[in-house]
């Protein structure tokens, strides 16, 4: 067996042993979730409410409530939320396991992600786009009675146009006459080109030129502001030299070549800053997943004092005061 396989297997076994040890020795378990029941539509006939909604409660709140009244049911253990935490922990570890090499756990997590995302987008598209934006405009009475009681609109015949265009777009799936889908596609491209062209010229092209027209020597209250002047000079030189770099109609030699080389340096600094920001973003993503594993699942840390009561209760038990 290769040495690296032995080492990585040993690491995995250590990790698994830690998890089992943690689950077995933790005085109040780990990875449990609790919910608070909120009575709705309370009246004289229904003091507990006609129905109840749930909101998340912290373990500390549950333990406090149990200490005060062991028979209370207002805050209770939630099986569904607990299973959710454990599935989330498993999927997190499964995705991270790809770093050690491709494996079935990663494949499973990847497939779950793809399937759930596709289903989620289909449901969102139906309920958030088709129902309110199309059916709600064409058949408001029906949609109001069926799905959206708060809907207030009248029939708008104009919305037959997007309905027809939508049907034409689906024609692409047909083995014959797929070219019909090009008409609505042309409409979509035309609309977005028009919308984005005007906006781009206004917000990016013209506004960016205006933002570059700045005083090279900034005078504030009768005194020259060195840093502001330096910043403005850097902006102007940076913009001009980068533009020269992308100007390929003249050979990059002599003065033009030097300006283009300066432009390259500005571009490199920009790419470096972008890379730094990207690294920061990715580390933040890793940090929140680890925080989830350590806090919500393993209960190793408690940054938001959600299980503060655990420590206090253990102390009280130790003194024989409670429990």
């Amino acid at each position: 067996m290769p040495r690296s396989t032995v080492v990585w297997t040993a690491l995995m076994v250590c990790g698994a042993a830690f998890l089992i040890g943690r689950a077995a020795t933790s005085p109040r378990g780990m990875g449990y979730a609790y919910v608070r029941l909120i009575p709705q539509a309370v009246d004289a006939e229904h003091p507990q409410g006609r129905w109840q909604t749930v909101e998340q409660a912290t373990p500390a709140e549950y333990w406090r409530a149990q200490a005060a009244d062991p028979g209370q049911t207002a805050i209770r253990w939630s099986g569904a939320n607990t299973v959710g935490i454990w599935i989330a922990a498993f999927l997190t570890l499964a995705v991270l396991s790809f770093l050690a090499g491709d494996n079935p756990a990663y494949k499973l997590a990847e497939s779950v992600l793809v399937g759930v995302s596709a289903a989620y987008w289909m449901v969102v598209a139906f309920w958030e786009v088709l129902v309110p934006n199309l059916l709600g405009r064409l058949l408001p009475g029906l949609v109001k009675a069926w799905a959206l009681p708060g809907l207030e609109s009248t029939t708008e015949v104009l919305y037959l146009v997007p309905l027809v265009l939508g049907v034409l777009l689906l024609w692409r799936l047909s083995p014959r006459g797929a070219w019909i889908a090009r008409w609505p596609m042309a409409f979509i491209i035309g609309v977005f080109c028009g919308l984005r062209l005007v906006t781009f010229i206004h917000a990016d092209f013209l506004s960016q030129i205006r933002n570059t027209i700045v005083p090279l020597v900034v005078v504030e209250q009768g005194r020259v502001s060195l840093w502001d002047s330096l910043r403005n000079v850097t902006v102007v030189i940076g913009v001009l030299s980068c533009l020269v770099y992308f100007f390929f109609s003249i050979e990059h030699q002599g003065l033009v070549g030097k300006a283009a080389r300066l432009g390259t340096w500005f571009l490199m600094i920009t790419f470096g800053a972008a890379f730094g920001y990207t690294v920061m973003g990715r580390i933040a993503l890793l940090a929140i997943r680890l925080e989830f594993l350590f806090d919500d699942w393993l209960w190793l840390i408690d940054p938001n004092n959600r299980r503060l009561w655990e420590g206090a209760a253990a102390l009280l038990q130790g003194w024989g005061v409670w429990g």
């Binding site: 909101e55 919308l195 580390i283 940090a287 929140i288």
Partner: protein
């Protein structure tokens, strides 16, 4: 040593990075934050508003970027609620609606139970159409938002009755992870109406460099990635007292500990990698 480093299995580097992030989290390491000019500008834009002013909070992100943007959303909501501003939540991303609900649950219901839904804050939820939504609600908000996220007609919501367009907003706060997001709010809302609308934003690290060209005329303030969130948290904490701000509002500063250690490791790896590369090239030249 050279040969060992050259042939090092990349999984050891992954393990090192895992430890660099995990250990500071387990030790709950925290480091002081010095707010930058951009974070201060974001804070000042909210500070200058008066109680009762309208703020549109656009939550254009999803759980994948909640690690970076969640703390910003929490701090923005806390700051605005402390100032007594009227909050209008909206999302151009489908899952943004859930992000809004979570923030309302964690911040408003927990720490501002006195605020009334429909009078002090409202959740307009998700609306499909991306930048098209922005274009429409700039002229008539009722054309798209006939109900709030719960399905209540807008005419029954007091704080929406005198609101015709989002140009009546005193500030737009965009928290964005991509498209549509801050860029679209700047392009479609703020740039055409510079006299009516102002915007501040918080965005992911990947997106931040794309926003810098809009600073300061089109975008006066920007929180870039978790660092920006941590600086803004620090400003809010300083302004409203350390004791008064609950621990929930220190998420970003907590995550700067792992950032620091991981960045040091990254720098060492880059320097080490380059050293090996040049050593290899020198050996090849011989």
């Amino acid at each position: 040593m050279y040969r060992f480093l050259r042939d090092l299995d990349r999984r050891w580097i992954f393990l090192l990075m895992l430890l660099a992030v995990a250990v500071p989290i387990l030790l709950q390491s925290r480091f002081p934050e010095t707010p930058s000019a951009l974070s201060r500008a974001v804070f000042d834009q909210i500070e200058r508003l008066q109680p009762g002013d309208r703020v549109l909070l656009a939550f254009d992100f999803d759980p994948a970027s909640a690690g970076e943007l969640g703390p910003m959303a929490t701090s923005f909501t806390y700051h605005c609620a402390k100032k007594g501003l009227r909050l209008y939540f909206v999302a151009l991303w489908p899952v943004g609606s859930q992000m809004i609900e979570r923030t309302i649950q964690d911040v408003i219901l927990q720490d501002f139970p006195e605020l009334a839904y429909g009078q002090d804050y409202v959740n307009l939820g998700y609306k499909s159409g991306g930048e098209g939504v922005i274009k429409v609600i700039l002229t008539d908000i009722r054309q798209l938002f006939t109900t709030d996220a719960q399905g209540t007609p807008v005419d029954q919501i007091p704080m929406l009755q005198d609101l015709a367009t989002i140009r009546q907003m005193d500030l737009i706060v965009s928290i964005s992870a991509g498209t549509p997001g801050t860029k679209e709010w700047v392009q479609y809302a703020v740039t055409p109406y510079p006299e009516d609308l102002r915007i501040v934003a918080g965005c992911t690290g990947v997106q931040a460099p794309l926003m810098y060209p809009y600073i300061p005329d089109q975008l006066p303030g920007l929180l870039g990635a978790i660092k920006g969130a941590a600086e803004y948290e620090e400003l809010v904490t300083r302004a409203y007292g350390r004791g008064a701000v609950p621990g929930t509002y220190s998420e970003a500063r907590r995550r700067m500990g792992p950032q620091l250690v991981a960045h040091v490791l990254m720098i060492l790896l880059i320097v080490g990698g380059n050293a090996i590369y040049f050593a290899e090239r020198r050996q090849g030249a011989r």
